[in-house]
């Protein structure tokens, strides 16, 4: 029998759109950009677009795009890029169908692990979060997951990045709340990388930049796009159309709007710096007319995410989505099902940067307990997309001869070689004991197991290997910013 170990089975993929539909969506989006235009509340960008041939109505801050500048932007947008940790090791390759998970970001609240009540997070919560993320093997990057409330709001964005860079080596998905903050956050990154060139060669962060639906850019977010592009800091565009409210009710209609809003951001970025790295991202949602909410766990929301990722791929860009998260208020079955469904669909669709783990309550609340559960979901999903590949399975006769002779294959060489990569064994947050063993080991609930895992991770944390002098530089920058907004010192970091 011939050996067949070289054959590779297809990676499992989910698709919602045909190429023809995508072409129609893109064509409609371009028509909207050129005929209805986009409101951009930023004079510098209006001038730049005008200089490149767009029609600009300064009174209305309205820009009518031209096919030529859209085509140019699409040509210069990188098809892929990589991310590197604080030590300069490559951690991400945003290309093809490769997927990476990152925690949901910028929550206003944290679900307290002890009281299970929401509260405003503080520095100690953030440090604990960074220490945990540093050890979650299925979560490839940090995000600035929530906003510490014990610093002045003017530095609450850069302060998150500062803590992340100190306590976790993984790259950071982040964002700025003001125009000035991008400068500070760039300075923090330069302290780590050493030079502008090095930072451009080895990106350390991805900045989320959000247009406002429908078809608008604020001064701050559009300027953030410009400043990141100038420094070759990767940007993920987070267009947020709401089906049936601030966007057409149909998923295709929402996709057309998402495409138009995202393309407008891409044009700005590429005109500033052709080749600046971007992720074709978003956080659209259906609008729940019963509760006036924007459910991230809704199947419609997740379908839009997967579908705009197909548009991004069609245009040749790496992609991102806020998808593996839940609208539940606590760590319950809804939290698990919505996050799992989203993570599974996102990975099957090949969304390159999947945002969401840890997040509850419409992107407003991070839960460390959910984060460690989601880490297990991500592990299962990462295994799923590896698909089924032959691993010394052909010819099979020798294996079965061994099985019949030995009565089991528990310690066969084949088992030892492939056990860990073939069978995905989650950590203790996922209960797989038989009932008696589960009872004897305390009969722990999911929340209790998650809490126990967090305690274990806090005990096994290894401090970042970022050099002491760089850490000192980071502190100096942050302290200067804290002083500038009237704080005498930074919060005590001891946990």
């Amino acid at each position: 029998m011939a050996k067949d170990n070289d054959s590779t089975n297809p990676r499992p993929v989910v698709r919602f759109l045909t190429d023809k539909t995508i072409e129609k969506i893109v064509s409609e989006a371009r028509e909207i950009l050129c005929r209805l235009g986009v409101e951009i509340n930023n004079d510098e960008i209006l001038s730049m677009l005008h200089d490149h041939g767009a029609t600009v109505d300064r009174k209305k801050s309205l820009v009518l795009f031209k096919d030529g500048i859209i085509d140019r932007a699409l040509k210069t947008t990188p098809r892929s890029f990589k991310l590197y940790d604080v030590l300069g090791n490559q951690t991400h390759d945003f290309s093809g169908y490769g997927v990476h998970f990152t925690p949901g970001s910028a929550a206003l609240n944290i679900l307290d692990g002890v009281t299970q009540q929401i509260r405003k997070p503080v520095t100690a919560d953030y440090v604990k979060y960074a220490m945990i993320v540093s050890q979650l093997r299925n979560i490839a990057s940090q995000s600035t997951a929530f906003i510490p409330a014990d610093v002045h709001e003017r530095i609450s964005d850069s302060y998150r990045l500062y803590l992340s860079l100190l306590y976790c080596e993984k790259p950071v998905v982040t964002g700025a709340f003001t125009i000035e903050a991008v400068g500070v956050m760039k300075e923090l990154q330069l302290a780590v990388r050493g030079s502008e060139e090095k930072l451009a060669q080895q990106p350390l962060t991805v900045f989320s930049c959000c247009p406002t639906s429908p078809l608008k850019w604020s001064d701050v977010t559009s300027q953030n796009v410009v400043d990141c592009a100038r420094a070759s800091i990767p940007v993920e565009f987070i267009s947020m159309p709401l089906s049936g409210f601030m966007a057409p009710v149909t998923l295709i209609g929402t996709l057309i709007q998402h495409t138009a809003e995202t393309l407008s951001g891409i044009v700005i970025s590429q005109l500033v710096n052709p080749g600046a790295p971007i992720l074709y991202g978003g956080s659209p949602a259906i609008f729940d007319i019963r509760y006036e909410t924007t459910p991230m766990g809704a199947i419609g929301t997740q379908m839009i995410d997967c579908a705009y990722n197909e548009v991004g791929k069609y245009l040749g860009m790496p992609t991102q989505a806020y998808i593996s998260l839940s609208d539940a208020k606590q760590l319950d079955a809804q939290a698990g099902l919505e996050s799992s469904m989203g993570a599974t669909l996102a990975a099957l669709a090949g969304i390159n940067n999947i945002s969401g783990p840890g997040m509850l309550d419409f992107e407003s609340c991070q839960s460390l307990e959910k984060l460690v559960l989601d880490n297990e979901i991500c592990g299962m999903v990462l295994r799923l997309v590896e698909g089924i590949q032959p691993k010394e399975d052909f010819p099979s006769l020798p294996r079965f001869e061994e099985l019949l002779a030995e009565k089991h294959l528990l310690i066969s060489e084949h088992t030892q070689k492939y056990l860990k990569e073939e069978l995905c064994l989650p950590g203790p947050v996922i209960d797989r004991a038989n009932r008696t063993r589960w009872q004897e080991e305390g009969g722990l609930t999911l929340l209790e197991r998650a809490n126990r895992e967090i305690d274990k991770l806090m005990g096994s944390y290894v401090p970042s290997r970022l050099s002491g002098s760089v850490q000192a530089d980071l502190r100096k920058i942050m302290l200067r910013e804290a002083h500038a907004c009237g704080m005498t010192n930074l919060p005590d970091i001891s946990i």
Binding site: H408, L410, T415, L419, L425, R435, R437
Partner: protein
């Protein structure tokens, strides 16, 4: 692999924990050449290593294949020691009769328990599957075994376990021969209900329970 004479028992234990039978064999030879007593090598090297493995498995630090590899490495050491004991028989932690009960031919779990028991240093008389109650009891009496282990997968064969317990009771053997049951449909509660002395929810727990029988004796 290099073991000083003083630490050689620890080296044997470590090699066993790594599942390296080759190293275990070499180190046992080395320990014997250094005038270590076979019993000392067995207790403080091989069995000590298996005890560590058992605990690590319980604590989810290692998984079944690692346990079995360690057990295999233990046999490599035991094969060398066996001829050196006076009777030519290896001292064991005890003798256990085990089988799948009458009417049931599902023996995967039972086989796993056999592997684990042998790895832990027990002598196991495996009666196989479809074993009649009388055969369990007769074998235990004739072989001087102090434990009978019974396995079942079918709810329809579970009552056979009770028959074995009652047979022991009838013959006045219940205090001398302990019973342990296992298998998917049985439970701690069922064990108590039929008067069995213990229930093991998995192979490692079965070993623990059986060890407890011997330490209580």
């Amino acid at each position: 692999m290099k073991g000083s004479d003083m630490g050689i028992l620890e080296d044997i234990s470590s090699a066993l924990q790594r599942g390296n039978g080759k190293d275990v064999g070499k180190l046992v030879e080395e320990a014997l050449a250094g005038r270590r007593e076979p019993k000392e090598i067995l207790d403080n090297g091989l069995i000590a290593g298996m005890n560590v493995i058992g605990q690590k498995y319980k604590d989810h630090e290692i998984f079944l294949p690692e346990v079995l590899l360690a057990a295999k490495a233990m046999y490599a050491g035991m094969d060398i020691l066996k001829p050196l004991f006076l009777s030519g028989k290896m001292p064991t932690l005890g003798r256990v009769v085990i089988g799948t009960v009458q009417g049931d031919i599902h023996d995967i779990g039972k086989n796993l328990v056999c592997i684990m028991l042998r790895g832990a240093g027990f002598e196991v008389i495996d009666l196989g599957k479809d074993v009649a109650p009388k055969k369990f009891v007769d074998t235990a009496v004739n072989e001087g075994a102090r434990v009978i282990g019974m396995s079942a997968l079918l709810t329809t064969t579970m009552p056979v376990m009770k028959n074995v317990v009652e047979l022991l009771k009838k013959d006045g053997l219940q205090s001398k021969i302990k019973t342990i049951i296992g298998g998917a449909p049985v439970s701690d509660e069922f064990a108590r209900h039929i008067g069995a002395d213990a229930y093991g929810y998995d192979s490692m727990q079965a070993v623990e329970r059986i060890k407890r029988f011997f330490s209580e004796a």
